[in-house]
Assembly symmetry: C2
Homo-oligomer: 329 residues x 2
DNA sequence: GTGAAAGCGCTAACAT
DNA sequence: ATGTTAGCGCTTTCAC
C-alpha cells in the first residue's frame, strides 16, 4: 500500500502536490498532474481515508438511529435518507436501539468520539432534551415534532393528522373510538393523547381507559390486538391505529375469524404503505421517503452551520374499505 | 477537545500511560490510573476514534451491501447481522445499490480506501468473481451459495429447497407450475432454473417459457403478477414464488378479484415472514436472522484469518392454505 | 505553482 | 511499570 510520499517520490514532486492532485486543487501544472496520476496508477495507489479523516477532522459519515430496521416505517425513512446521502457522497452507519436508552447512548458516544459527524434520530427513547445535550459534538436531527428550538426536525403534523383521522371516523358514524399507539413515548405520546382526549370530548364521548392501547408495532401485534379487542366488554366500534402493520394484522386476524363486516370495527391507519392499499385499509399517508430526504437535507444544512429549522410535511387521508359510513350504530 | 497529551500533562504521566489506561493495558499502577481517569473526567476527554483508526490501521467498521433496505428480506438479514455486530462493539455502514454495479463498486471502493474493514454482500449484481478481486483489501462474505472457494458464504440450500417446493406442488396434484424469481441473476439464477427444468422434466411436464417469470420483488409486483397470470393463455395451476411479498400481492389481488378458491392457482412462497403466516400462504422458511448472524460470524472469523467457510442453513416447508391437495385437475 | 514542515491524536516498539 | 519517540498517511499553512 503506497502512500503519497512514495507517489511524490515516483513522480518527482512534493507530497503537497500529490495532495493537491488528490483534492482537485486548481494550482497544479497539467504536466505534474499527469506525472502524479501516472505514478498513482503504476503503484496502484488508493488514499487512506482514515488519514484524511484525522487530518480534516471529519469523516463524511453520519449515523441513523432507530429502534429496528426490520419495520417498513423505518426502512422507508432510511431509504429516503440514503438516497440523498449517497448523492452527496456521504456514508452512514446504522444504530439499532430497540428503544434501549443505553444503545441510544452508544450512538451518542459514536458522535462524541467522532466516529460520525452527526446523527439522525428516527425515533428515540431518551428524551429529546437529553439527546440534544450532545449536540456540541455534531448536529442532531429528529424525525418527529419536537418543541426544542435548538435543533432541526422533520415530521408531519401528527396532532392535526390525528384529529383529522378522528373527525373522519366520527363522520362515518363512530363515537366509541380507540387509539392504538406504537409505544409509550414521553412528550409525543402526551400531546397525541391530549389531541385524542380533546377530540373525544368534543364528540361528547367518554373515554374508556382501555381504549388507549400502546406498544403495538408489528403485524403480529395487530393480530394480538384483535384478540384483545374481542375480549373487551366495552368494545370500541372504530380503531385509530398509528401503523399499517398493526392494522393489517388486526384486519387479517378478523378475516380469519370470519368476523362479519358489520361486526368488525372500522380501522383508520397511519403510514399508507403498499400493504394497506392491497388490503383496502383506510390510511393517513406519511411521506416517509420524502421525510428521509428532508431529514438528510436538514442534516446537511446543519453541518454547514445553517440555523435550526422545523419542517412539517403534508399528510393525506386515503379512504378505503375499512372506514365507511355506518348507519346501524 | 483535549487530547492525550494534555491528559498526560494534567495527570503528571506520559502519553503512553494515558494510552495504556485507555486501552485497559494491565501494566499501570492503580494510583496512576486513577490520576489519569480523574484528569480525563476533569477535562471531559473523549478519544478521537479517527486517530485510533489511523494508528491501528483498522476501524472496526464493516459494510453491508444490499439492493434496498426497504424490503423485509434484507431488513431481516441486516437485523441478524446487526445483533451480533453490536455485541462485538462493531459498527457498520449500509450501502444501497439498487443492483447498480456502479454503486456496488463504490462499496468496494470504500473497502479499498479502508473506510470499512470488510463487506457483507446480501445480494449483488456484479459477479461474485469480480467482487472477490477486492478481497485483498479485506474480507468479503456472501449470503448466497457461491462456487468460489476463496471466500465465506452462508445460505440455505436453494436448489434443494426449490426441488422440495416443486415436489410439494406436484404432490398436491400440480403439473403446470410456474416459477417466479426476484431478478435475473447470473450464476444463481441459472442453477435455480436448472433445478426447475430438471424437476419439471421428471414430472413429464413441458415448460411453457412464459412460466419462467423474473423481476418480481415487491407486494406491488405480486399484484401485477396476478394480472399477468390472468392474461396467460396457458395458465399454470401453481406458482413457486421466491418471495413472500410477491406471493402476498398476488393472493390479495386474487382475493380482490373474487377469484374462487378452485380457480386461484396454488402458491408456494419463500421466506415465511409474518405476512405469509397471516395470509395463510404456504412458504419455505428462510431463517433470515440466523443467516445474518452467521454472516457476521463468518466475517469475524475471516478478520481473524480463519479459512473460508461455507455454511448451509436448514429450511423448512410450512404448509398452509395456498397449497392443498387438488382432485379436479 | 511548488515545496518544506508542522501538525491531526493516537499507538506501539524500544529503552529504562 | 513507565517514558521517549517514531510513526500511521494525509492536509495545510507559510514561504518562496
Amino acid at each position: 500500500m503506497p502512500n503519497i510520499r512514495e507517489i511524490a517520490k515516483r513522480a518527482g514532486v512534493s507530497v503537497t502536490t500529490v495532495s493537491r492532485v488528490l483534492n482537485h486543487h486548481p494550482y497544479v501544472k497539467e504536466e505534474k498532474r499527469e506525472r502524479v496520476l501516472n505514478a498513482m496508477k503504476e503503484l496502484k495507489y488508493t488514499r487512506n481515508i482514515q488519514a484524511v479523516h484525522l487530518a480534516k477532522g471529519y469523516s463524511n459519515m453520519f449515523g441513523i438511529v432507530l429502534p429496528t430496521i426490520d419495520h417498513s416505517y423505518f426502512s422507508g425513512l432510511v431509504t429516503g435518507i440514503a438516497e440523498k446521502a449517497q448523492a452527496c457522497g456521504m456514508h452512514f452507519a446504522l444504530f439499532q436501539t430497540g428503544y434501549d436508552p443505553l444503545k441510544e447512548k452508544e450512538a451518542l458516544m459514536s458522535l462524541n468520539e467522532r466516529r460520525v459527524d452527526g446523527l439522525i434520530f428516527c425515533s428515540n427513547a431518551l428524551s429529546d432534551r437529553d439527546i440534544l445535550k450532545w449536540q456540541e459534538s455534531g448536529p442532531i436531527i429528529f424525525c418527529h415534532p419536537t418543541p426544542h428550538d435548538d435543533c432541526s426536525a422533520v415530521s408531519i403534523a401528527h396532532d392535526q393528522a390525528l384529529k383529522e383521522g378522528l373527525h373522519h371516523l366520527a363522520a362515518c358514524g363512530h363515537e366509541r373510538i380507540a387509539i392504538v399507539l406504537a409505544r409509550t413515548e414521553g412528550a409525543n405520546s402526551q400531546t397525541r393523547l391530549q389531541a385524542y382526549q380533546d377530540m373525544m370530548q368534543s364528540l361528547g364521548q367518554d373515554i374508556d381507559e382501555k381504549w388507549i392501547i400502546e406498544g403495538k408495532l408489528t403485524l403480529f401485534d395487530g393480530k394480538q390486538l384483535f384478540t384483545e379487542w374481542q375480549g373487551m366488554k366495552n368494545r370500541p366500534t372504530a380503531l385509530l391505529i398509528t401503523n399499517d402493520n398493526v392494522s393489517a394484522g388486526f384486519l387479517l386476524e378478523a378475516q380469519r375469524h370470519h368476523i362479519k363486516v358489520g361486526e368488525s370495527p372500522a380501522i383508520l391507519s397511519f403510514q399508507n404503505e403498499q400493504l394497506s392499499e392491497a388490503l383496502g385499509i383506510s390510511s393517513i399517508e406519511i411521506p416517509l421517503k420524502q421525510m428521509g430526504q428532508e431529514a438528510f437535507d436538514l442534516y446537511d444544512r446543519a453541518l454547514k452551520g445553517d440555523a435550526p429549522e422545523k419542517r412539517v410535511l403534508p399528510f393525506r387521508l386515503i379512504e378505503r374499505a375499512t372506514t365507511v359510513l355506518q348507519n346501524n350504530r
